[in-house]
């Protein structure tokens, strides 16, 4: 049921992280936002967006302008671009992403559904071998062992462990991390080794699960016990994310994890869950895949979509279009110019659809509907302006 204001206190979907918790009650009093169930991250997210309606609707190089003027300038920038990049999507809805990919198709742009910073992690792992995955409820109801690999969901996805049913006595939480994280503090078992050893450790686990021996000098501590834990249960899960996949060799590490899970699946049911940071990333990746045929990073420069796999393709980018990046808005930035246009934050001021990080699509409500356009509306107008 739609809320006319948050004072009505109806449950809404929080897009503060990729969990998209849809059982959230929001109370706003002045600048203070309180969420039930309590979630620091969600409260900050709502608070930022409740305040984001203040200020001009658009700017060019920081100077206030109207939306039409900003759209015209953004269209000029993008029309003149030799190598445009469409990226961001942190808070994007499916509708926003559909409009963004349509615009990228028209522009012959690069599109990145996820982060574009940092070292190139290599060709994506899943197209090489596949993966075993599940929705939250499957993991909650079946997995007796959950391994969180170098992630700290207690900080980045605060309700994840509870939503996966961890904390009950018949579940074991294993954390692989050499940092002292909030998640590690909740773990039943913590396995510590340097990140540089992840690849060989995953390979060792693969060997051990076959019942073969690994020279003890090659083993980090606790691996045999971890395999024994898997052998004792019919169902287990791995939770992983940028801690494994970011940076040089990231996708090779991801491939090693999926190979391990595949091998474990011969005797039991084992699944993975990728912790995407931003709420909009999964939506953008799914839309990109269905409209182009490819997920992740796609180049439309040749007039048709091509999957970017081999190298980091950003060197020649001259104009970027950030869609719902950071606190929101659409930002077109080219040489010497930055155009910003405010948008209605999906999940606060505008309704829409978003895909949870496990792929489940959910409705975002608009508990505080605003006058600003959605990114989808803006991008559609921008495309029309470019075509005019």
């Amino acid at each position: 049921m739609p809320c006319s204001s948050v004072a009505d206190l109806c449950p809404v979907t929080c897009a503060g992280c990729g969990l998209l918790c849809d059982d959230v009650m929001v109370e706003v009093a002045g600048d203070a936002v309180r969420l039930t169930p309590d979630c620091r991250l969600g409260a900050e997210w709502f608070s930022d967006r409740v305040r984001s309606g203040e200020g001009p609707p658009a700017t060019i190089n920081g100077e206030a302008v109207d939306v039409d003027g900003a759209l015209s300038r953004a269209a000029e920038l993008l029309r003149a671009a030799r190598r445009p990049l469409v990226h961001g999507f942190d808070g994007a809805t499916v509708e926003d992403a559909r409009a963004a990919v349509a615009l990228a198709d028209r522009l012959g742009a690069l599109v990145a559904a996820g982060a574009v910073t940092g070292e190139w992690p290599g060709a994506p792992a899943i197209p090489l071998r596949g993966a075993s995955t599940a929705t939250f409820g499957e993991i909650r109801d079946r997995s007796r062992v959950v391994v969180v690999w170098r992630e700290d969901p207690e900080t980045t996805h605060p309700r994840l462990l509870d939503r996966l049913g961890l904390g009950s006595t018949d579940r074991t939480l294993v954390v692989v991390d050499d940092r002292d994280t909030a998640t590690a503090q909740r773990a039943d078992v913590v396995l510590r080794w340097p990140r540089e050893r992840d690849l060989e450790t995953l390979a060792s686990l693969h060997v051990l699960q076959k019942g073969l021996a690994v020279p003890s000098s090659d083993l980090v501590g606790g691996l045999s016990e971890l395999i024994d834990r898997f052998r004792a249960v019919p169902h287990a899960a791995f939770v992983y994310g940028p801690g494994l996949t970011d940076g040089a060799g990231g996708q090779r590490r991801a491939l090693a994890l999926h190979e391990l899970v595949r091998a474990l699946c011969h005797q039991r049911h084992v699944v993975t869950l990728e912790l995407l940071r931003a709420a909009g990333t999964r939506s953008a990746d799914d839309v990109l895949a269905w409209q182009s045929g490819y997920g992740g990073f796609v180049d439309f420069a040749s007039g048709h979509p091509e999957l970017v796999t081999a190298t980091h393709p950003l060197e020649d980018v001259d104009v970027t279009l950030g869609v719902e990046a950071g606190v929101g808005g659409c930002v077109a930035a080219g040489p010497g110019v930055e155009v910003w246009i405010g948008t209605a934050a999906a999940g606060v001021a505008a309704a829409g659809t978003a895909h949870r990080l496990d792929g489940v699509p959910l409705a975002l409500q608009a508990p505080l509907p605003g006058d600003a356009p959605t990114a989808a509306v803006l991008l559609t107008r921008l495309l029309a302006e470019i075509d005019a």
Partner: protein
């Protein structure tokens, strides 16, 4: 007002007993009419064949499993790019084309309506979003209900509860269709997918109990099949039987058909369910037995699920099957478990003419087509892309229409397998054009309850395909001369000339809204999505739609 007169073509409209008669077909404002004015566009169809637009009763074109297959297989599409034009969006093809490419290519093939045959209800928003990006065709989707834990609970509780329990199941199914925009109900390996998700388990007989739920596959079939019949949904329950691909599975298939005896039902891709032999051994063909059963039971229809030699992309809610293929092939594999409702498996696969099992599967499919006495009962499908791409339909049609071509292809297939079919026993039938019109449009439309599709009678949707009457039937059906969708020419001379968004087809069945009080606590215990947020109400996803009302018992 758009008016078209298709003049002088040989019209094949079997639903109206028109078998190649040379006559005009008139279209106005999206419908077939009896006449049009002198200013109407005239399409000279002399020497051409005129049929209703194609209707695909069983394909996989949208939703999370299709999209996962796209992400899994960039190599399959890399050399099959579609460039952007002034009219068309760019895309990529291959076995699992991007959404725009899917719509364009179905249209170029003369198809105007396609059913996505297996969508998790929980993923309805995703399915609807993809379908909104799939132009040119009218489209519907079937929701997966055969492993739904909430329904399991209702089925278990209904035993001994006389009529009230059955009514509750009926109301729940109608509620789910209303909540998702689905068109019909699909059962995939009833009970078996839940067992797979529990601990890689399988169903061996219809009377195996689904651990933890106290129901059997047979009870699921009876309860849901019966409820769908009583609701009078436009399409009967659509069944992917247990034990797909397992040697000896024809016994399960026939048992499933007997279980649904007396009820309307559609059986999907029966080729994969027509095997003799013993589990673990080599399969044999039991197609004749299956066809004989169908002949005696007109309430049951089927689509074949023909395999075509070459690459395919297997994708199914029957995830156990994918694990078997993973181990056979050793290649890529995706498994995805969807809470409460279903599973999913994806494996790229290649059917080889020299391989005994593949050749037998190919041969069984042809047997089913050629032995069937009533083409209204056995419809064309490749279970796209499981048995092969929908783009292989023209070749399949040639196999059915051209005996010499078929015999040539038979000689290229594994002979040990072919000898274990009836294909070498004087099975020389050649399909006529009208029979092709039945299995590719008239029968699927009728079985889907789409009264305005699959025929060219007055008032029908103006979805028309016009072919050159070529001796090479593969070429003929691969390149229609004209395709008309909703009364507008969208394909001409093999090119897309106009983009049509296509409509969503959904159904509406009455239900007691109090069923929500029953479902809500069951949802709360199982789903990680709030009950009040589960239904899809967003008009941008649900509308415009053509709603087909359920008839009621």
């Amino acid at each position: 007002m758009t008016e078209i007169r298709i003049s002088g073509g040989a019209v094949h409209d079997p639903a109206n007993d028109v078998d190649g008669d040379v006559r005009d077909v008139c279209l106005r404002d999206g419908n077939v009419v009896d006449d049009v004015g002198p200013g109407a566009r005239r399409i000279d169809a002399r020497g051409m064949v005129v049929m209703p637009g194609g209707v695909d009763i069983h394909a996989h074109i949208a939703g999370p499993k299709v999209n996962a297959a796209r992400k899994l297989s960039p190599d399959d599409r890399r050399d099959d790019a579609l460039d952007r034009t002034e009219l068309l969006r760019s895309g990529s093809g291959g076995l699992v084309p991007s959404t725009f490419a899917t719509g364009y290519r179905y249209s170029l093939l003369g198809y105007t309506t396609v059913v996505e045959a297996a969508a998790p209800p929980l993923a309805a928003r995703h399915v609807l979003s993809e379908l909104r990006d799939t132009p040119m065709i009218d489209k519907a989707f079937l929701i997966l209900m055969g492993n739904n834990q909430v329904l399991f609970e209702l089925i278990r509780e209904s035993r001994g509860a006389a009529g009230a329990g059955a009514d509750r199941i009926k109301d729940a199914i109608a509620w789910w269709l209303d909540a998702t925009g689905g068109y019909g109900v699909k059962l995939v390996n009833p009970g078996g997918v839940e067992l797979w998700k529990q601990d890689n388990g399988v169903v061996e007989s219809l009377d195996d109990e689904v651990a933890g739920f106290g129901v059997t596959p047979r009870q699921v079939l009876e309860a849901i099949g019966g409820a769908v019949n009583e609701l009078g949904l436009p399409h009967p329950v659509h069944v992917h039987a247990n034990n797909l691909g397992v040697p000896g599975n024809v016994e399960t298939t026939l048992d499933t058909m007997r279980t649904l005896s007396g009820r309307q039902a559609h059986f999907a891709h029966v080729q994969f369910h027509s095997y003799g032999g013993k589990p673990g051994g080599l399969p044999r063909s039991r197609a004749p037995e299956l066809i004989e059963y169908l002949g005696d039971h007109p309430e049951i229809t089927a689509d074949v699920g023909q395999v075509m030699f070459g690459p395919a992309m297997t994708m199914t809610a029957d995830a156990h099957v994918s694990a078997v293929l993973r181990d056979l092939d050793g290649g890529k594999w995706i498994n995805h478990d969807t809470e409460v409702e279903t599973g999913c498996g994806i494996v790229p696969y290649t059917y080889r003419a020299g391989n005994y099992v593949h050749a037998l599967q190919w041969g069984i499919g042809l047997e089913l087509f050629l032995l069937g006495k009533d083409p209204w009962q056995v419809m064309l499908s490749t279970d796209h892309p499981n048995g092969g791409s929908f783009l292989s339909y023209p070749k399949l049609i040639r196999l059915l229409m051209d005996r010499a071509f078929r015999e040539d292809q038979l000689r290229r297939a594994n002979q040990k397998a072919i000898r274990r079919t009836t294909l070498l026993d004087g099975l020389d039938r050649e399909y006529t054009l009208s029979e092709i019109a039945i299995i590719t449009r008239a029968a699927p439309a009728r079985r889907l309850g789409l009264r305005d599709k699959g025929h060219l009678g007055i008032g029908a949707d103006a979805d028309v395909t016009i072919y050159h009457d070529r001796a090479d039937r593969e070429e003929m059906f691969a390149t229609p001369r004209y395709v008309i969708k909703g009364g507008e020419v969208v394909v001409e001379e093999g090119d897309l000339r106009r983009v049509d968004d296509g409509r969503l087809l959904s159904t509406r069945a009455r239900f007691d809204s109090e069923v929500g009080r029953v479902l809500e606590p069951l949802f709360g215990d199982r789903y990680t999505v709030a009950f009040e947020h589960y239904p899809v109400r967003d008009p941008a996803l649900r509308e415009p739609a053509q709603v087909v009302e359920a008839g009621g018992a």
